[in-house]
Symmetry: C2
Subunit: 144 residues, 2 copies
């Protein structure tokens, strides 16, 4: 096998068509790049990668398409500390993030317990949680 992830690009493509959004050459390149991404790139990095597939993609189109995809719920936009927004496909179940302060690397995790506690706390204060943001800014623990 070679690029098992391109299925994600196809799924995103389908979501666009479903909403009557035109699939341009530039968008196809961006979808491919998003589908292949194993990390959490920012708009600039996505632009850089997309240009590798189609030289004509402009940064403005990257931003515009990211907004469309986000509105469709196909990708998620994260505003981690420092720098601009970073993106990931929305096909994996909900999770929160650990950000390695030294490498900028992002690790995903999920905790049912924390999810539950959040809802409980909000409820006690008379609120419903619409969405949340839990980010742990971390350093590698010293060798045990």
């Amino acid at each position: 096998m070679e690029s098992p992830k391109s299925d994600r690009a196809k799924e995103m493509e389908a979501a666009l068509r479903r909403d009557g959004v035109r699939l341009t050459r530039q968008r196809a390149a961006l979808l491919e790049v998003l589908g292949d991404a194993e990390d959490h790139p920012d708009a600039n990095e996505l632009h850089r990668r997309a240009k590798g597939l189609d030289e004509t993609v402009s940064l403005a189109t990257v931003y515009r398409t990211l907004s469309v995809l986000e509105a469709q719920g196909v990708i998620h936009r994260h505003a981690f500390e420092g720098g601009g927004a970073r993106f990931e496909t929305a096909d994996s179940p909900h999770h929160d993030h650990i950000i390695d302060l030294d490498t900028e690397e992002v690790i995903e995790f999920r905790s049912e317990k924390i999810e539950r506690l959040q809802a409980e706390i909000a409820a006690e204060l008379g609120y419903d949680v619409v969405h949340h943001r839990l980010e742990l800014y971390c350093r590698k623990a010293p060798e045990k």
Copy 2:
């Protein structure tokens, strides 16, 4: 009583002096405003309030002073969704935030359980939490 909070301004003043930072007229105004704030204002709002005490305070000085205070750990800077950074004095114990999506209002809460779980999760993945960010974006729950 009238302004029981101004003690906070005095404490911040002391922190500045301790580090040999000069207490200018403009900084005094900002400290007063920060000390009196019961909410989580942004730089612009702080500037607006500070000008009420000293017409000569510029927005640039507000930003510069906020940076100094943050570096000293005297105030905290929060980057909630949408708009610019918002600030609060650092004298209350650590807490997280609920942001009311309809009013922009910020409610503070604290959960030992969540704090503990965060540290556990990070440890399992080989990390130490340096700091974190937990924000619940909420709407008022419908009447029971």
